[in-house]
């Protein structure tokens, strides 16, 4: 592979790295107080360019740098999602930051760096590469969480995120060192080969510990129970556009990374990781449902909602196999749209003086004062709950379908039963918007970008979304096939469809 071909294969990363670094200089030397608008625009364009670059060799070049970096359809799908979610997180922010008095040009740049880190994460074919990508995105995220420097909650969020994140990184590194020690490699393929070879009891135990610690470290990033504790506090404290970002792109990146890791590197040890994933899945759906019920702050509620949704995505991951991996991708795609939409609506909730409203009660009577906004929020809520007719039902269907295919019907049955707990608080939001009266006076300021994005996301998860199924299915199946088939071991045999009927 020539140098130029290699550059093309890592095109998205190159675009982001070069662009972000240049923008950093621009913002450092610019005297213009409105520079954030320019930089945001350029950043969004950079992300779009990076997305466009995925059309080239970046989506099918295969293994690069001796297997450390994978440019395949799987990573390309995830990158597209990450870039678009990041672009939305940038586009929604300038107005908000201006009102908070924090309109610094670093915001879009930090998101660009985070996106770069995530892009490396989802392409990682080596534990060290994985760690480098994870840290790049995490360090950017810590700064973003405390971006509203004068706000104590924001600073608290940043600090909490950093301390707990550092702990998780430690766990991950420890797990990586154990895996390296007991398998002799940090490259996914070699780890898989080592794991497939039987070894003495002590070595098997060491490998198991390695797997557990690595999974624990990544579980922190996807905020799966029992490593979710940071989520509500950070989501509540961080500025809302940052929260929206946290709930979308990094979730996708971490989930995709986890998927590649367990399928690719730990495929032969499916039995070992599957029970961990199943535990995390059920614990997340249950805790995410139960703990959300008592929340009074909408951002905290959405934090628990994200925990709950991650649980369902993990059900798909537990199923493994082609269908399982595809269902995780479908789930994360639709989840990102629903979550970004919900946060966009939350950002529109501003009092008459322009102050941001975050209590759930401030949604009262929204159906009267802002019927369009309420309709959009209802769409997101029913979608997040997975009630059919709205498109949020479809990813749940796919995840459960994968679980049933993998002979895990019991898991699907338990998980879907826990979704009823979650439905309770989602319909509570609808109740507050539609059944309750009163509520605060809202600002009438127009925000065309935000409104447009809300309409777009709401339409995507409305029943119209069903029309996208064939495209989504083709894309995710192709993406999943690129890691499931290249993986050295076929995961737990899925039931084949009976034919001839």
């Amino acid at each position: 592979m020539t140098f130029w071909e290699t550059i093309q294969a890592i095109g998205p990363e190159v675009i982001l790295a070069v662009g972000a670094t240049d923008l950093l200089l621009l913002t450092a030397f610019s005297k213009n107080p409105n520079v954030i608008r320019t930089i945001s625009l350029i950043s969004v364009l950079l992300l779009l360019a990076a997305s466009a670059a995925l059309l080239g060799p970046a989506s099918h070049a295969g293994n690069l740098f001796h297997g450390q970096f994978r440019a395949d359809a799987f990573s390309a799908f995830a990158k597209l999602l990450i870039f678009l979610a990041s672009a939305v997180a940038i586009a929604m922010a300038p107005g908000f930051l201006k009102r908070e008095g924090e309109a610094h040009g670093e915001y879009p740049i930090l998101i660009l760096f985070a996106a770069l880190g995530m892009s490396v994460m989802v392409s990682a074919g080596d534990l060290m590469m994985l760690y480098v990508g994870l840290e790049l995105s995490s360090l950017s995220a810590y700064v973003l969480a405390s971006f509203a420097r004068r706000n104590t909650r924001s600073s608290e969020a940043g600090l909490k995120y950093f301390v707990l994140g550092a702990l998780a990184s430690g766990l991950l590194l420890y797990g990586i060192s154990l895996l390296y020690g007991f398998t002799g490699s940090t490259v996914f393929e070699d780890i898989a080969i080592a794991l497939a070879t039987p070894a003495s009891e002590g070595i098997e135990l060491g490998r198991l510990f390695g797997i557990v610690f690595v999974l624990a470290g990544i579980a922190f990033k996807v905020s799966a129970v029992p490593f979710h504790m940071w989520t509500p506090d950070v989501y509540q404290g961080a500025p809302t556009p940052v929260t929206a970002f946290f709930a979308s792109a990094p979730k996708v990146a971490a989930m995709v990374l986890l998927t590649r890791l367990v399928i690719d590197a730990m495929g032969p040890a499916t039995d070992a990781w599957r029970q961990i994933i199943i535990f995390m899945a059920l614990a997340s759906t249950i805790l995410g449902g139960v703990a959300a019920i008592g929340q009074r702050n909408i951002k905290r509620l959405l934090a628990y909602s994200s925990i709950n949704n991650v649980g369902f995505a993990l059900v798909g991951l537990a199923a493994a196999g082609l269908a399982g991996v595809a269902s995780v991708l479908i789930y994360m795609t639709v989840y990102v749209v629903m979550t970004l939409g919900s946060f966009l609506v939350v950002m529109r909730l501003r009092g008459a003086d322009g102050e941001q409203l975050e209590s759930i009660d401030s949604l009262s009577g929204l159906a009267r004062s802002r019927p369009g906004l309420a309709l959009a929020m209802m769409t997101f809520m029913f979608s997040l709950a997975g009630i059919p007719f709205f498109f949020g039902f479809y990813p749940k269907l796919m995840v459960f379908d994968a679980a049933v295919q993998a002979d895990l019907a019991w898991l699907a049955a338990v998980a879907i039963a826990t979704s009823v707990i979650g439905a309770f608080y989602y319909i509570k939001i609808v109740k507050i918007m539609y059944f309750d009266e009163g509520g605060p006076e809202l600002t009438t300021e127009k925000e065309p970008v935000a409104s447009g994005l809300i309409a777009l996301t709401a339409l995507a998860v409305s029943p119209l979304g069903y029309l996208a199924i064939p495209y989504l299915e083709t894309a995710t199946t192709e993406a999943a096939a690129s890691i499931v088939q290249s993986g050295p071991v076929v995961p737990a045999a899925p039931q084949t469809l009976a034919s001839g009927h």
Partner: protein, 517 residues
């Protein structure tokens, strides 16, 4: 799978019947209140007209599935529509009741646009359930109905509406989620999502029990069966009049339809194995909820409990697993849809005047509202099952059917008719006869023209179904025959086979005689 691209009429009538209310619902959101009412009424009447066209062009005794449409646009599942006679009758019931519901809501002043839109969406989803030929499309339509009903109860309901809305939503959701897992498993095993194909697929009897229970949980809550009926009285009491009509008239039928479409043909062995579970719950419902209805002080609650008792007749008939039983169950569903809908409308008429549903506040309305009392009496009698009304035909067939399956079930179920007569006659007596207990009750004016227009068509339909049920049974007959032929192998043997009798002596004589010749 062989599918007809274009149906007998040359245009996709089923899709059109779904599209009209959908478009009208969206239009309703953007126009003023007065216009919204007109649009909603127009759309429902148009759907009624299309329904009549559908019935007129349905070939009785023709193909099992008619008016099929198939478009594989959703990847894993398809936009597959088509109807048989059973679905046709339930579709007719829905399109018939919808304009009446809209007309009954004419006096609603609160958020009219959203109200009309919600009702139109309910219509789309109900019709979708009956038309769906893809199991996941069915599930989507079946579950999605919760959303507009949740809004209808929660926004336009009575004082305790929020509790009722929550209970309705979560109860029915919890009931139906396991059905989805069962569906996924079935699709995996059978390799198709097409309902007609699944209906002839023989699932392993051991698995059938689990599948049956998963579906049963869903349909039993929807129907509702004792002991999971407790959401119904709350939902009915709190819902606005038209909400109650549509709830009792059509939404409860989704459960019964589910039993006919899924439980019986797909899991015949399990249906037979769990005969006593179904019958036991149904009989408890017949006797117990009738007794509960007897002591209700609230008119709507009384009718709600009577619905539970009547729907128990449906399950008794269906799970008798023979021609009379299943036809009877279907007729009870249609009849109950009309009669309970009409009874809720009757309650609505006096509620609009007095703003109370307490039975004790009324009395003697026959004096000042003779026309109202006449209608009310007719529907009361139909609910009891007086010959000549629709209620009789269905209940009689159910009892005949179940007698062949098990005579004890028939025996206990019959007591339900007596109990039904007691609470309905008591209700009618306390409201219509005697002297008015309050001054307001004595001053109530008789039916307005609009209320005439609500009740008269239902009364006509009730009498039609009572006098000439053949019109309604003919389209279903062949489908019921097909169903009975499929489940015959598992049908309960019955305990009371009566042989054609002849006096022993005469028989001996005849034998002799034959021998002598």
């Amino acid at each position: 799978m062989d599918h007809v691209a274009v149906n007998e009429l040359g245009f996709p009538i089923l899709t059109l019947m779904l599209a009209i209310p959908t478009i009208a619902a969206i239009v309703c959101l953007f126009v003023d209140a007065k216009m919204a009412r007109t649009v909603a009424l127009g759309a429902t009447l148009l759907d009624l007209a299309l329904g009549i066209l559908l019935w007129a062009s349905y070939q009785v005794g023709g193909d099992q599935w008619q008016f099929q449409e198939y478009a594989p646009i959703f990847g894993r599942f398809a936009w597959a529509l088509g109807i048989d006679g059973i679905a046709l009758m339930l579709i007719m019931l829905s399109v018939f009741l919808m304009p009446i519901c809209i007309l009954a809501s004419w006096t609603i002043e609160k958020r009219v646009q959203e109200y009309m839109a919600a009702f139109l969406f309910v219509e789309v989803l109900m019709l979708g359930v009956f038309m769906a030929q893809d199991i996941f499309l069915f599930y989507v339509m079946f579950e999605a109905g919760l959303i507009p009903m949740y809004l209808i109860i929660g926004i336009w309901g009575g004082a305790n509406r929020i509790y009722a809305a929550y209970k309705f939503f979560l109860y029915t959701l919890l009931g139906s989620v396991l059905m989805l897992i069962a569906m996924l498993w079935m699709v995996q095993t059978a390799g198709t999502t097409f309902i007609p194909d699944l209906m002839v697929y023989d699932f392993d009897p051991a698995a059938q029990t689990w599948l049956f229970l998963a579906f049963f949980a869903s349909f039993a809550v929807k129907l509702p069966m004792w002991p999971v009926h407790t959401w119904l009285p709350d939902a009915h009491v709190q819902a606005p009049t038209a909400g109650s009509v549509i709830l009792a008239g059509v939404l409860l039928k989704l459960g019964g339809y589910g039993f006919v479409r899924f439980s019986l043909p797909m899991f015949p062995e399990a249906s037979s194995e769990l005969f006593w579970l179904v019958m036991g719950l149904s009989l408890v419902a017949v006797v117990y909820t009738s007794l509960v209805a007897l002591v209700q002080q609230d008119m709507k609650k009384l009718i709600a409990y009577s619905s539970v008792a009547h729907m128990a007749f449906v399950t008794i008939g269906l799970f008798a697993m023979n021609q009379q039983g299943i036809e009877g169950g279907m007729i009870v569903m249609l009849s109950h849809g009309l009669v309970s809908g009409a009874l809720f409308l009757c309650v609505g008429v006096v509620y609009d005047r007095m703003h109370t549903r307490e039975i004790a506040k009324y009395g003697g309305v026959a004096n000042n509202m003779p026309a109202y009392a006449l209608f009310f009496l007719l529907f009361t009698m139909a609910s009891i099952g007086l010959p000549g009304t629709s209620g009789f035909v269905g209940e009689f067939l159910v009892l005949i059917g179940v007698y062949q399956a098990n005579s004890w079930v028939a025996f206990v179920a019959t007591t339900g008719i007596i109990l039904g007569a007691s609470y309905m006659l008591l209700l009618f007596w306390r409201i219509a006869y005697g002297t008015a207990r309050t001054e307001e009750a004595a001053k109530m004016p008789d039916l307005t023209k609009r209320e005439w227009a609500l009740l008269a068509p239902i009364a006509a339909a009730v009498l039609w179904m009572g006098v000439y049920p053949e019109s309604f049974m003919a389209p279903m007959r062949k489908d019921v025959e097909t169903l009975v032929a499929r489940i015959e192998r598992a049908a309960p043997a019955g305990d009371a086979h009566i042989e054609r009798g002849a006096a022993p002596a005469a028989a001996a004589d005849a034998h002799h005689g034959e021998g002598g010749h």
